[in-house]
Structures are given as C-alpha cells and as structure tokens.
C-alpha cells in the first residue's frame, strides 16, 4: 500500500507545474483520477473530478493545489545568462549553486549563479535577492535567445528519494502530497455508493494567490468543502506549538474562518477510526485555499486538513507517506458519513 502511494507521489511530483503553468501536472493528475469519475481540466487549469451522487442536496468539495513554487525568466542578458524572478514563494537561500531546469523550447540544465563571495560586500553571509542572481545555461546569447523566452518557467532540480522508514523527499510535495491524498481518497470511494455528491478539485495558482480555488469553488458551488494542504512538521528552529509531526497523521485545522462542526466531525472520525492526528490552531487566516473557498458566493462551510511536511518551499521537501494514507482515510470516512 505504502509502495503504491510512494509511486503515485513520485509520479505526481515529477510533472512540472509552476503557478499558471500547471498543464503537465494537471494532465498527470487527471489521468490518475479518470478511473474514479468524470474528469476535466477547466479554463483556469484546475483538474475537476466528479464522483458520487451529483444531484444530491449535499455536494462536498475536496481541494488540494496542483502548483509548486518556482522561478520565471524575466530577461536574457547579453552574455547568455538569464535573469529571473520568483514565481510563488521560493526561498532564495536554497538557490545559490543549485542545478535548475529551464523549460524553454527544450528542457535545459542551468546553474544558479551568484556573485563570487570575494566580490561582494557581505561575502558568504548574505544571500542576494533573486533579481541579482542569474541562471547559467552555458549558452551564447544567440543560443539562449533561440531556446528561451521571458516568461519561461524554471524549477530547482532535486532527485526524488526514499529516505529511512516511510519518509520520502521530492520537489513539489507542497501540495502534490495533498493531491495524492485526494486521489487516494477517490480511489477508496470508487466502489462505494455515496448519498452525497463529491467533487475533487486540484486547483491552480495557490502559490500565486489562490485564483484556481477561487474560480473553481465559484463554478462548482459546493455545500461543504475541505481544503487539503501541507503544513509545518516539527524540525529544529521551529516553534513546536506551530507544528505537526512526521508520521503523526493529518493536522486538523482550527481557525476563525473554518467551520467548527465540520472540524469536530473530523476529530471524532479520527478517534473513532484510530487515525493519528494533531491539531493546528490559527488565530487568523489559514494561508491556504480554505480562505478563498469559504467566502465563495454566499459562503461555504469549510474545514482544513494538512499533511505535515519539513523544509517547505525548498526542493528537498520531506513527508512521511503514511501521513498521506491517514489523510486519505480520514477524508473518505468524512465523505461516507455525509447524507
């Protein structure tokens, strides 16, 4: 079971999908979902899969975002180097000296180049802003202009690896881990008779503001929604009060905008089915698609479940595969219980 899930996670994460350019990731995810129900990709790049009783009164929306943080080419310099900006909240500290893939006319291997430390004021202490970095493709200006255009996307390259136990590392686990949980949930419900309608929304552009979830929720008009994202797993230097734990199961969110009865139901189900969990309490916005979905049209009762993840927004994000399985089970139990 864990093996299958790891393969699903690696397959989803391997497809590139920066904000506004999710088509490859969308196609891969849609292919996985097409066995479970009618699946389409909408005009905003969202993947939508419909399961269960689509004419029922209760229509549940499960959301996870498809996109991942990256970079975008802004300019080709006269020496063939590319200038870039952030596309989503990329952490500049992981960029210097990193191998990247530039998605030009063909995928190109680049290296993020910084000023050598002896030629900068702060030496190795400071990490320059992204607009002062450049990408070296080893190409002449003419070659670079032929193969790359401003607007092309860039991803930091890192291998997908199995770590000890059931932990894995890959770029894009934020939030392909959530996508995998929803796909697994859909698979668990595939042969069940549901009294409610269920729509899976794998939404675009979360890292750039949540426009995919905003428009998706508007179109789909759900009566209830659960946003599934990743959140912080305990690691050194991070306040334990803000964290879940790798292998500790889904983090069930509580925040002013989240619906308390739905949250309580998730907590009850976790206890009843012996699914490990922790709670994530937020005093304001959740910083996830839940914020967009909850205020769609006249308002949608919304809950939030997060998968604990270390090193968010770096190319070496780490999760425990087991947490994805737990999350899928919890969501499936929730959907089964809606009349």
């Amino acid at each position: 079971m864990t093996e299958d899930l790891q393969e699903l996670l690696f397959a989803l994460c391997a497809a590139p999908g920066t904000p506004g350019d999710e088509s490859e990731a969308a196609r891969r995810a849609a292919w996985e979902l097409s066995d479970c129900g009618e699946t389409e990709i909408d005009r905003m790049g969202n993947v939508i899969c419909r399961i269960g009783n689509q004419t029922a009164q209760q229509q549940i929306l499960l959301d996870a975002h498809l996109d991942q943080v990256g970079l975008i080419v802004t300019r080709i310099e006269t020496n063939g180097f590319l200038r870039v900006d952030r596309c989503g909240g990329t952490d500049r500290r992981v960029l210097p000296g990193s191998p990247v893939t530039v998605f030009g006319k063909e995928p190109l291997t680049g290296i993020v180049c910084c000023m050598p430390p002896h030629l900068t004021e702060c030496g190795e202490d400071k990490v320059e802003s992204v607009d002062r970095m450049a990408i070296d493709l080893g190409l002449s200006t003419e070659e670079a202009q032929e193969l790359v255009s401003p607007g092309d996307r860039v991803l930091v390259r890192a291998p997908q690896k199995r770590l000890l136990g059931t932990r894995i590392t890959s770029p894009a686990l934020d939030d392909r881990a959530g996508c995998a949980a929803l796909i697994r949930c859909a698979q668990l419900l595939r042969n069940q008779t549901l009294s409610c309608g269920l729509t899976i929304l794998l939404s675009s552009r979360e890292e750039a503001g949540g426009q995919g979830a905003q428009t998706g929720a508007y179109s789909l008009e759900p009566t209830e929604a659960i946003a599934v994202d990743v959140s912080f797993a305990a690691q050194p230097g991070v306040d334990p009060a803000k964290c879940g734990k790798l292998g500790g199961g889904p983090m069930i969110g509580m925040a002013p905008i989240l619906n308390r009865p739905m949250t309580n139901r998730l907590l009850e189900l976790a206890k009843e089915h012996e699914i490990p969990y922790s709670m994530e309490i937020m005093g304001g916005e959740t910083g996830t698609n839940a914020d967009e979905i909850a205020v769609s049209r006249t308002g949608v009762p919304t809950a939030m479940v997060s998968i604990p993840l270390r090193y968010m927004h770096t190319p070496v994000e780490v999760i425990d595969t087991q947490d994805v399985a737990y999350t899928a089970r919890l969501l499936a139990e929730y959907v089964k219980g809606v009349d």
């Binding site: 909240g89 952490d91 000296g97 291997t109 030629l119 190795e124 050194p236 991070v238 306040d239």
Partner: protein, 341 residues
C-alpha cells in the same frame, strides 16, 4: 580524446578527501591493462608508470587529484538529524536545501527552516554550517545509527549533463583532470612517464606532497580545474579566465611561482597543436603544484587547468572543447618536457 562516458563514471562516483577508494578503484580498473607498473602509496595515492618509445630525458610526473569537496557527519542528534562539517572549501551559501548522499549510499537532504517562519533578516542571510543538518528520514538517534555513523562521508547528489557542448556535473574538480590523465596513459607514449592520481588535495595537498616524494620527478604537470569567474555581474578584470577559451596556464598563484620556461613552453605546445589557450589572469587559488614544486630538492612544475565555473558546489560547468583541447596541449607539453626541451 577522453571519453565523456568515463568522465561521467568518475564524476558520479563519490570520493571526498580521505575517502577516495571508489575513485581509485575505477582508475585502477581503467589503467591496469596499459600501465607497466602501478603502486598504491601509504596515503592512498595511485602511482602508475608507463614506458614510452624512448627513455625520458627529464623524469616527468603528471598529476591530478581524485578527491572532491564534501562534508562529513560529526554528530547524530536525539531526533535522528545529522550534524556535519565541511571537507574542503565550500561556500556555505550553496549548502542549504541540497540533496546529499551519506555514507554508503544513504539518501538525505540538507533542510532549511520554512520561509514562512523566517524573520525578514533571516530571509537574506545564508545559514551558518553550525545551524544546518542532514535529514535522512530517521525519527530517532537509534534509527539513524542503524544507517550512518559519525565520520561518514557526505557528497552532493550527482547530475551529469552534456547538452550544447558543455559539461555540467558534480566533482569536475578534479575528475576531469583524472579523465585526461587516464586517456593519455592509454595512448602510446613517446617517452616514459609517471602518472599520479592523488588524494587529499582539497584538505592540504597531502597526497601530492607524498606522491612527489615517492616518485621523485624532475618535472611535473599538474592537471586541474580553476575558477572561471566569467559570470553575470562580474566585471571583465575580475573574471580570471573564460569558459570556452581553451585550457588555462598559470604563471603564479597563492602557493606556487611556476617554472617560467615551462609556462612559455605550454603556450608553444598550444600553438604547435593548433589549440586555444589562455593565461590565468589573477594570482589566486592554489593546487597540488604548491606541494610538488618544493618536493625533495625542487621540481620544475607547470599547471594546465580547465576553466570551471561554480567550483566546489553541487554542480560545476566546463566546456567540452576546453576539456579536449587541454588533453591535446598536455600531451604535446609532456612530450616536450620528457624529451628534454
């Protein structure tokens, strides 16, 4: 021409300073059928002697180092995370968020605190090595100890890309030099020559110091890679040398004043073979020449280097043209020196 497949094999093998066994095994396997005599020295250098058509008039040693920069595990925390120290000179800005391999192939990553939880000051500061750690997925010290131990070597994960005439890879410093020497050794030689594949260059030239003592040559050619700062934002006068402009010849660096006549002879060798070359336009850095030229009673030493960007990071870059031209130049230069010019 040295084979890119061999270079890939050398670059993808792992060998930080003091742990060069894997590299030495590959080189031994490659050269054994061609060398007349091979020897592994007490510190782990691989010395190979090959007879040429003629006895050498000047006893020449060609030198390349097998080791690469990396890290080593220093301590395992209760929570299963690994503390580490750098081995060789690594710009600490390149460590954060990198995939690595620990010990005998245990996958890991160098983590970073999530950007969402950083102060604005932290966002633009590089993380000191003492605050970094490697995560191998262990959730406890005991789980980690079953897979790794303090002292285990750590390397950046590999990548090898040869598109558009370039080579982008980990450890080009100095596996590219090793590949050139291996290829030369496989060819028929005009004169007898010694080939030294040495250990521990990055941590103090210990391999070349002892190799030169044992080999006792009259002259040496050090085959290295050197920093090319011809990158975005660096003014022309600070660029040192250029990728694609041919092998780099040094007159002086931080450790060595090179033999003047041999330095000139290297330019002649380039001209005679029709390859491009360039002078290293800075007195910076240092390499095995520093130890070799003062070995015993002194060794006349010259360095031929590949211009290399992003030396000592997870991925560096050289040009295929420079790589092949360096070999052509070194072959001619070696003939001239061993022939007594």
């Amino acid at each position: 021409m040295a084979d890119l497949a061999l270079l890939e094999r050398l670059c993808c093998a792992r060998g930080i300073s003091g742990c060069e066994e894997e590299i030495r095994e590959i080189i031994l396997e490659e050269i054994r059928p061609y060398a007349d005599c091979v020897e592994v020295t007490p510190l782990g250098n691989l010395l190979a002697f090959k007879k040429g058509a003629n006895r050498a008039k000047t006893k020449l040693m060609l030198n390349a180092h097998m080791d690469e920069v990396g890290m080593t595990v220093t301590y395992i925390e209760d929570n299963g995370l690994l503390r580490f120290a750098t081995v060789g000179g690594i710009d600490r800005r390149v460590l954060c968020g990198k995939p690595v391999t620990v010990g005998k192939g245990i996958p890991g990553v160098i983590g970073a605190k999530p950007i969402h939880l950083l102060t604005s000051e932290e966002r633009e500061k590089s993380v000191p090595v003492k605050d970094l750690y490697i995560d191998i997925g262990a959730l406890s010290r005991q789980e980690a100890e079953e897979a790794v131990s303090p002292g285990d070597p750590v390397t950046f994960d590999s990548l090898f890309d040869t598109a558009h005439g370039m080579i982008k890879s980990r450890a080009l410093d100095d596996r590219a030099g090793c590949a050139i020497l291996i290829d030369l050794l496989k060819k028929p030689l005009a004169y007898d020559m010694l080939f030294a594949f040495v250990v521990q260059e990055e941590t103090g030239l210990n391999g070349s110091k002892t190799a030169a003592y044992i080999a006792d040559p009259d002259a040496a050619i050090v085959v290295e890679s050197t920093t090319a700062a011809d990158v975005a934002g660096v003014p022309e006068d600070k660029q040192v040398c250029h990728v694609g402009s041919g092998p780099v010849l040094s007159f002086m660096d931080r450790r060595t004043i090179y033999d003047r006549a041999y330095y000139q002879m290297a330019f002649d060798a380039a001209k005679e073979t029709g390859v491009s070359c360039q002078a290293k336009q800075a007195v910076a850095g240092g390499n095995d020449a520093g130890a070799i030229h003062v070995s015993r009673g002194g060794v006349r030493t010259v360095a031929v280097s590949l211009p290399c960007r992003y030396l000592h990071s997870a991925v560096s870059l050289i040009s295929q043209k420079d790589f092949h031209e360096a070999e052509t130049l070194i072959e001619r230069l070696a003939e001239k020196i061993a022939g007594g010019e």
